[in-house]
């Protein structure tokens, strides 16, 4: 059961702690770090108690910082950097035709490695490079096999002008088995620690493509990918135009059209022990990125997507226009506690799998990432 949350926002990183009290415990902001700086993601590494933060300075570029004591003291660490771009290479974003910068524009995924590799971290970036550190972020290596894969050149921007790798799932059974998701470029899997990769988005549908390309695995826009800890062959994706589920380790995907009140959104969380239980924060559609009827709700399924409950208790139900980004919904390691934050600076926590929600703040900067320690 986690009593601490880290929240990365447009203007700083906040620590939220659960405090015992009467008549009940309450969650409150206990620290604010990197105030006024743009924090794209935060990673509390449950293996060692370290915390990592990625900052994106508008002028000075992306920087990573780490804390070894839960956030009291911070130190700069290395930022993933691309190798020199070979002379004469043609590498352009397919839609705009603009050159792909071989430079880290945004840290969009940061994950702890397998429990058997305590110093290992994985990092996903715009413009699409995947990096690995084996020394707690003191140095990073580009996973060249994926970056130099011929199909990587076909990745295109979704939402951003550049493609980006935003989801990384390390299989709890095997450190070499890693699944990642790319906007836009589908879901990719390695079983040999990153030596070789294959695209695994069979069954996903891209409504934004012409009919003959809609089921092409390489054009899919998974907004977020999550994996069930106890049943790692079970994966969920909140996709640009729907929700998809795999029960066979991403070999195939099934569309889940029953999400209420809408199938659009960015965030998804799966119960760590029950692969059939998952949560979403829907919006109207890609063209209308606001809650349906101005009501903030969480959609929960307990049966693998056959049906959904719309959870509203404690959430604003009129004239609320909060949007929840892909990393801004999290579930703790027990599956009981959830938290999510929004673009309008609201943050809610639930201690009963979403049945009811407590407001922690409605005045934070825009929230990018919410993670339980």
């Amino acid at each position: 059961m986690s009593d601490r949350l880290y929240v990365a926002t447009r203007k700083g990183v906040f620590t939220i702690a659960r405090r015992k009290g009467r008549p009940r415990a309450r969650w409150a902001i206990t620290r604010a770090d990197f105030l006024a700086d743009n924090a794209s993601i935060v990673l509390p590494d449950r293996r060692e108690g370290a915390v990592y933060v990625a900052l994106g300075h508008g002028h000075f570029g992306v920087k990573l910082h780490r804390s070894r004591d839960g956030g009291r003291k911070w130190e700069p660490c290395a930022t993933p950097a691309y190798p020199p771009k070979p002379e004469g290479i043609e590498d352009r974003e397919p839609n705009s035709g603009k050159p792909i910068p071989w430079s880290t524009e945004l840290v969009w995924a940061l994950e702890a490695g397998h429990d058997s590799e305590p110093g290992t971290l994985w990092c996903g970036t715009l413009p699409g490079g995947l990096f690995r550190s084996r020394d707690r972020g003191s140095s990073w290596q580009l996973v060249e096999s994926l970056w130099r894969h011929p199909k990587r050149r076909e990745w295109f921007g979704g939402g951003a002008e550049l493609p980006g790798l935003h989801s990384i799932c390390v299989d709890p059974r095997d450190a070499r088995h890693v699944t990642v998701a790319v906007s836009c470029g589908g879901v990719w899997l390695t079983r040999d620690g990153g030596t070789s990769w294959e695209c695994r988005a069979q069954g996903m549908r891209a409504a934004y493509m012409p009919a003959e390309r809609q089921y092409d695995p390489h054009v899919q826009d998974p907004h977020h990918l999550v994996q069930c800890r106890a049943e790692p062959d079970a994966l969920w994706v909140q996709h640009h135009n729907g929700v998809f589920r795999s029960t066979d380790g991403a070999a195939s995907w099934e569309e889940i059209p029953t999400v209420k009140p809408a199938v659009f959104g960015f965030a998804v969380a799966v119960h760590p022990e029950d692969a059939g239980t998952a949560w979403f924060v829907p919006g109207v559609s890609d063209e209308q990125r606001i809650p349906v009827k101005g009501r903030v709700v969480v959609a929960r399924t307990r049966n693998g997507g056959s049906s959904f409950q719309v959870l509203t208790k404690g959430l604003p139900q009129e004239h609320a226009y909060d949007l929840t980004y892909r990393h801004a919904l999290d579930v703790d390691e027990t599956g009981d506690r959830l938290a999510f934050g929004t673009t309008t600076g609201a943050l809610w926590v639930s201690e009963n799998q979403g049945d009811s929600w407590e407001t922690i703040s409605e005045h934070l900067p825009p929230v990018y990432c919410v993670r339980f320690a």
Partner: protein, 89 residues
């Protein structure tokens, strides 16, 4: 010897005091500064060694032309200013 100064706003992240550094081009001058202050390099240059998109470099008040290779000449008594572009917000 050329003199190098940095925008005040960078100081919050990494101290960059005014300094003097030898060199005939912007690249040579800045690389000498960064050799002595390695953390500052990534704040000014991107992964390919080009000037970051929202940074600007002036030599004696004139913006440099070669943002990729930093080949613009620096006179021996030149003033190199590393500033922020307003495009970065």
């Amino acid at each position: 010897m050329p003199r190098v100064t940095f925008t005040q706003n960078i100081q919050r992240h990494v101290p960059c005091p005014p300094t003097e550094a030898d060199g005939g081009t912007v690249r040579e001058v800045l690389e000498r500064v960064f050799a002595a202050n390695p953390r500052a390099r990534d704040y000014v240059l991107d992964d390919q060694g080009a000037v970051r998109r929202h940074m600007v470099v002036f030599v004696n008040g004139r913006q440099i032309r070669d943002r990729t290779h930093l080949s613009d000449a620096v006179p021996s008594n030149g003033e190199v200013c590393v500033m922020q572009a307003l495009s970065g917000g």
